[in-house]
């Protein structure tokens, strides 16, 4: 653990408390009737391009991103840079596809992807499966935000724990999560949207400081790259009879990009836009985040060049958190105490904002597609919203329980498999917008095939590796399991849809 630094902690607390307080007063902002689900859970679909931009940035660049992705570079070198091509692909995709999704959801009052699937195919089972996939995949993602927070608290030397029901729970984590639960319950999506603006200001400040101050102290970018072993600078060479790690790199980027906007929290951000044009214009400016992300990844190399792992004061942190401790250690080593407080506050708010959006998104799914669909179909809008607010608390409590009862490594493994599962909802959510003859029989078959294949491939690597090497007629094809499972999923969907359609009268699609 790092030493206790009063200045760092004071700056951190002032920023953290100030920005969290904004979350509570956000109810007054763009005022609406918070007893309606799309007011609480989508901010009334009133957010313009700039605000959606902040909200999506808040969504996608999370505390976990901040510590885990540089750690990937730190450990694996250039092959860990795939988050950059992934973000280059994702924004044209958003531009091309999601205005259409937004329009359908707006026209019919849909709040979730599962709403849309039910509207398109009139199949409740399929909608339920899509909703459950979303909820299950979001949970570990939310838990990872807590892991990010833990690393930050450890980096500041804040260590205190309480015993709840015989389990040791980190006190700072408990407090931070209580704050998040409070403002989410109170203000809905307005809270993270307003906080995201201030979060971005902090993160930009931190990153600019990082890319200016750290290279200056390490002797320039050339020196940083020189500190990385040459064979780790780029993707390793391709072996004979294999498409090699370069192919794996491309599929990781593609699969990430395809899966990203299927995640409930990302879709929630998009649906809160006030128009299709807001989404398009927002997609043009999203690359600013991508550039920020790229700089962030390079922090991994900076940590390597600075040699933080060899420093005795950080040994215990590395021992507990592994390589994700590299960034907190780098900040501690490079910056004066007060600025470490700013940087850590940026990351901590960076956990609360997406954490809030994720729990809202999961709550929207549960309320609309499980509670109202199966438990109380006749419930009023106010009752529905109340259920969503309570479920958002339960999701967060679950995530907290998760990081308390399970080791951090298993949370990471669940996140990995969550990403693979999330991708399998693509045919149901997006393909039907373009291919009119798809039907629910085909989509159910495809989803099942994709989920089973994806899970088996992940299990074959003991849930340690998201890339599984396929053998295609003697050629080794290392491929991100989400992508190979999706290919199978799409093939099964198309074939079974065709067979099913020829046997019965097609059910006409409702949308459009």
């Amino acid at each position: 653990m790092s030493e206790f630094r009063p200045v760092t902690i004071a700056v951190f607390l002032v920023l953290f408390i100030g920005i969290s307080a904004l979350g509570f007063v956000a109810t007054r902002w763009k005022r609406g009737d918070l007893h309606q689900l799309d007011e609480w859970g989508l901010g009334g679909r009133k957010f313009g391009p700039l605000l959606v931009w902040f909200l999506l940035g808040g969504d996608l660049y999370t505390a976990y991103t901040f510590v885990a992705l540089p750690a990937l570079m730190y450990a694996n070198g250039g092959a860990g840079f795939f988050a950059v091509p992934y973000s280059i692909v994702v924004f044209p995709l958003v531009f091309a596809v999601f205005p259409k999704v937004w329009a359908i959801c707006k026209e019919h009052g849909y709040v979730t992807a599962a709403d849309m699937v039910e509207g398109l195919y009139r199949n409740r089972v399929l909608a339920l499966l899509i909703a459950l996939t979303g909820i299950v995949a979001t949970m570990p993602y939310l838990s990872l935000q807590l892991v990010g927070l833990e690393a930050i608290f450890a980096g500041m030397g804040m260590h205190a724990s309480v015993y709840l029901f015989g389990y040791e729970v980190e006190l700072p984590l408990l407090v931070a999560f209580g704050v998040m639960a409070g403002f989410t319950y109170n203000s809905g999506l307005r809270a993270p949207a307003l906080m995201a603006i201030f979060k971005d200001i902090l993160i930009y400040t931190t990153l600019i400081a990082c890319v200016v101050i750290i290279p200056a102290r390490l002797g320039g970018y050339g020196a940083i790259f020189d500190a990385v072993p040459v064979d780790k600078l780029i993707i390793p060479p391709t072996p004979d009879n294999s498409l090699g790690p370069q192919f794996a790199y491309a599929t990781l980027a593609l699969g990430g990009a395809l899966g990203l906007f299927l995640y409930p929290h990302a879709l929630t951000g998009l649906l809160s836009a006030s128009s299709r044009d807001a989404i398009r214009r927002n997609a043009i400016f999203m690359p600013i985040y991508a550039f920020m992300l790229a700089l962030l990844l390079l922090l991994g190399f900076m940590a390597l060049a600075a040699g933080v792992k060899q420093m005795p004061e950080f040994a215990s942190g590395f021992e507990r958190f592994g390589d994700i401790y590299a960034v907190p250690a780098l900040f501690n080593y490079m910056f004066p105490d007060w600025f470490v407080g700013v940087a850590f506050a940026a990351i901590a708010i960076g956990a609360l904002v997406p954490g809030a959006i994720m729990s809202i998104a999961a709550a929207n799914l549960f309320t609309r597609n499980v509670y109202r669909a199966y438990i109380r179909p006749e419930c009023s809008a106010a009752h529905e919203t109340q259920v969503a607010k309570i479920f958002s608390l339960l999701v967060k409590a679950g995530a907290l329980g998760f990081v308390t009862f399970f080791p951090e490594t298993s949370v990471v493994q669940l996140q990995l498999i969550g990403g693979i599962w999330m991708c399998q909802t693509l045919p149901a959510v997006l393909m039907g917008l373009y291919i009119k003859w798809l039907n629910s029989t085909g989509l159910l078959a495809g989803w099942t095939a994709g989920m089973v294949a994806g899970t088996l491939m992940a299990a074959a690597t003991d849930f340690k590796n998201s890339v599984y090497e396929l053998d295609v007629f003697g050629l080794a094809v290392p491929c991100y399991s989400a992508v190979s499972a999706l290919v199978l999923n799409i093939a099964v969907t198309l074939i079974v849809s065709m067979i099913a359609a020829s046997r019965q009268e097609p059910v006409p699609a409702v949308a459009e």
Partner: protein, 71 residues
């Protein structure tokens, strides 16, 4: 500005594939040399395509979607 309902020049949407290919076609950029300001080519290429991708998306917006409002 007059409000048009339909996008113009729909072909422009295909331009969006360019940054995707540039980002995913790894053999095009998996090299250390030449370096740019000390930054290996691998990183220079990918960093550059972030901005080129944004530029192309902007171009598509201007060509096809600008002024297209829906409701």
């Amino acid at each position: 500005m007059s409000i048009k309902k339909r996008p113009r020049r729909k072909w422009a949407n295909w331009l969006l594939l360019i940054p995707c290919i540039a980002a995913l076609w790894t053999p095009a950029y998996n090299f250390v040399e030449p370096r740019f300001l000390g930054i290996p080519f691998y990183y220079t290429w990918q960093l550059a395509w972030i901005w080129l991708g944004a530029g192309i998306t902007w171009l598509v917006y201007q060509l096809a979607w600008r002024g297209v409002e829906d409701e």
